[in-house]
Amino acid sequence: MRKKRVWASLVLALFLFIFAFALPQNTTNTSAAAKTAAEYDKDKTFRVGMEAGYAPFNWTQSSSSNGAVKIQGSSEYANGYDVQMAKKIAKALGKKLVIVKTDWNGLPPALTSGKIDAIIAGMSPTPARRKQIDFTNTYYKSKLCIVVRRNGKYANATSIQDFKGAKLTAQQNTFHYQAIKQIKGVKKQPAMNNFAAMRTSLQSGVIDGYVSEVPEGITAQNAQSDLKMIKFKNGKGFKTSPDDVDIAIGIRKGDPDKAKMNAALAKVSNKQRDKLMNWAVEKQPKTSSTKNWFQQIWDQYGNMILKGTGLTLWISLFGTVVGFLIGLLIGIVRTTPMPDSRGRRGVLHLIDWLLAVYIEIIRGTPMIVQAAVFYYGLAQAFGINMNRTVAALIIVSFNTGAYMAEIIRSGIISVNSGQFEAASALGMTHFQLMRKVVLPQAIRNSIPTITNEFIVNIKDTSVLSVISVSELFFQGETVAGQTFQFFHTYLIISVIYLVLTFSISRILAWVERRLDGPTNYDVMANPSTLATVDDSTAENMNTPTHDVHNTKEDQHD
């Protein structure tokens, strides 16, 4: 099935590498995981991870109709081929089925860290994956097809060799794309990132077709009437390896329930499987054509998108505020003058060094990697099972803190040295002069950069989808995966992002203006006396108190 996104393996490799130091061997890994799994065995639950956004295998819906199963920690339901299959397995195991909605890249680490018991998500048992996790026998066998324009030149093709001279593409990092070279004389186009892009290219005539799998093909032709899926009879289609087209259940190595699961799968015949897939294709969320596209998406998923928006705003706001406080603290510490005492100087040097390490590590690694290492790593190494949103808040805060530290530090450095001198000449301690004089100026000068950081946070929370935080982008991915209206869904999502970021830049610009105070030059307590007092000031320099009386009298008048 999908081998997309080298990301998954990269992220996985990185934290395995890191935790290899803490935990010498995989044996420790599995024992830690097995322990958490054992705990859950007591609960008699079977926790299954899936994206719930890859129809017809799995999708999210808002009601429990058609035998959908509630998603853990959410008011939504999951359904699809995978969900129905999971129900059969859970029944055979005598356990209660729990669906854990997990991002595609997060599935293997969630399994190895014991956050889920199985992956039933349309996943193929590739050799690379087999190194990390174990697989049951196949529960669905897929087939490659080509999606073309219904009224196009290739609409009546019956063999892959009919596509000689056709411009074909497929998804990046998939075996679909590798398979194209089996066609002689084909014009292989650069691989594309997702199906939305391929469908749009196909409809616009940039390509003549794309290689896909049958369930996706059926969905494509159902969703867009101008597209047609072409299936091939045996011997006329692509040659594929079972590693690619087989779909199996991912389980932890040494899972004692493997035999029971295989037995349960054996009871479902090929015919029943095809029937179930047809059922899933038919029941998957559809778009009715009476309303416009926006209403369609909004009516069905508006709530989901709004919740995602709320979470994105909350995480980025919290992260920016806490990150700002962290940055403030670090900025102050790192600009503290060296004390005279040798011991204190040593301590300050050490703290300074540690903070520099923190800043360099956080700035030097992508937040998506930090999120994966922190969330899955903690679970894998120490069995700490953290709430996803809490993990997200911590990650964004610490990430922002590292950047804010440098922002505040440069803000402090940019304050004129005369301000420091004047404050210390009044007898202020370092802390006092920082609080009363330097930091207000440093922060004021940093506001444009802080605004920037806030805006970056709003957008960058999207990487938290790697730990399945249901923020705006994650929700968008889900909606797009279900409606197959990638362009339209992401258009809505991008407008929401734009509204958020634009509002924030406006609000902070207003704060900036407020801090600067009025720009006019009515600097006197009573502007109407400006002229008179100015004169008297000039004339009565030797008796300066005079003009004050003047003002007072004027005010009494």
């Binding site: 005279d340 004129n416 005369g418 301000q419 001198e421 004047a422 404050a423 210390s424 000449a425 009044l426 007898g427 202020m428 301690t429 006092q432 009363k436 004089v437 207000p440 100026q441 004021r444 105070g517 030059y521 600097v523 006197m524 307590a525 009573n526 006396t529 007092v533 000031t537 000039a538 009565n540 320099m541 030797n542 300066p544 108190t545 003009d547 004050v548 003002t551």
Partner: protein, 246 residues
């Protein structure tokens, strides 16, 4: 009954290998106005900054009320509150308005309550003719106005001595007088003042003692009459000639 307030003994200050101050000896009595004159780069400002400990002396001693301010556990913030400083570039706190510039030191360092501090600040600002401007931000004021606020800010701390580091050098000529007048008023109150300046008329009229610095040493010291009317050293004569001929 003169009492020695500030005493500088064998003070040396190096910046790297460069010797800026070489064996400076100086005493300032309570209530006295001492003026330091000399060419740019002669070490006048460095001397003043050492007295306030904005620079750390390389060797020698500075005593305040007979006690060394260089001893290990000396309370520097308290000392600085007692010996105020007025800078060439005014250095008003640009985030605070005129009133708060004069209040912030009193409330944070002297722990006065806000109402009392504001009252004192208003009184001192009125004395320097800045009473009507208490709501203004420093950037809205002229240089002369800023410097008068800076003087009021220093006076609000009830210092025993005030150090002036070329307070009129950054001002346009027409604003110099308003600042010098303010300083004359202060001198009359009996405040101890050490003034680094190029304003020879002021030095002549207001000082009790004038010192002429050249290349990091005190080349000559004496009363204004001695220094300005009967300078003994050739260097002093040469320096003063350039000023009086202008």
């Amino acid at each position: 009954m003169t009492e020695q307030l500030i005493e500088v003994a064998h003070l040396k200050k190096n910046f790297g290998k460069h010797e800026v101050l070489k064996d400076i000896n100086l005493t300032v009595d309570k209530g006295e106005v001492l003026t330091i004159i000399g060419a740019s780069g002669s070490g006048k400002s460095t001397l003043l900054r050492n007295i306030n400990l904005l620079e750390r002396p390389t060797s020698g001693d500075i005593r305040f009320h007979g006690k060394s301010i260089l001893q290990p556990h000396f309370d520097i913030p308290k000392y600085r509150a007692e010996v105020g400083m007025v800078f060439q570039q005014f250095n008003l706190f640009s985030n605070l308005n005129v009133l708060d510039n004069c209040v912030v030191g009193q409330t944070t360092v002297l722990k006065r309550d806000k109402a009392e501090a504001e009252e004192i600040a208003k009184k001192q600002l009125a004395k320097v003719g800045m009473g009507p401007y208490i709501q203004a931000k420093p950037a809205q004021l002229s240089g002369g106005q800023q410097q008068r606020v800076a003087i009021a800010r220093a006076v609000c701390m009830d210092p025993e001595a005030l150090l002036f580091d070329e307070p009129t050098s950054a001002l346009d000529p027409e604003m110099v007088d308003e600042v010098l007048d303010t300083m004359k008023q202060l001198a009359k109150t009996g405040l101890t003042m050490i003034v680094v300046t190029h304003e020879m008329a002021f030095a002549h009229d207001v000082s009790d003692q004038v010192v002429f610095m050249k290349d990091g040493v005190l080349a000559e010291k004496g009363t204004p009459d001695q220094i300005f009317n009967h300078p003994q050293e050739a260097a002093t004569q040469h320096f003063l000639k350039r000023y009086t001929q202008r």
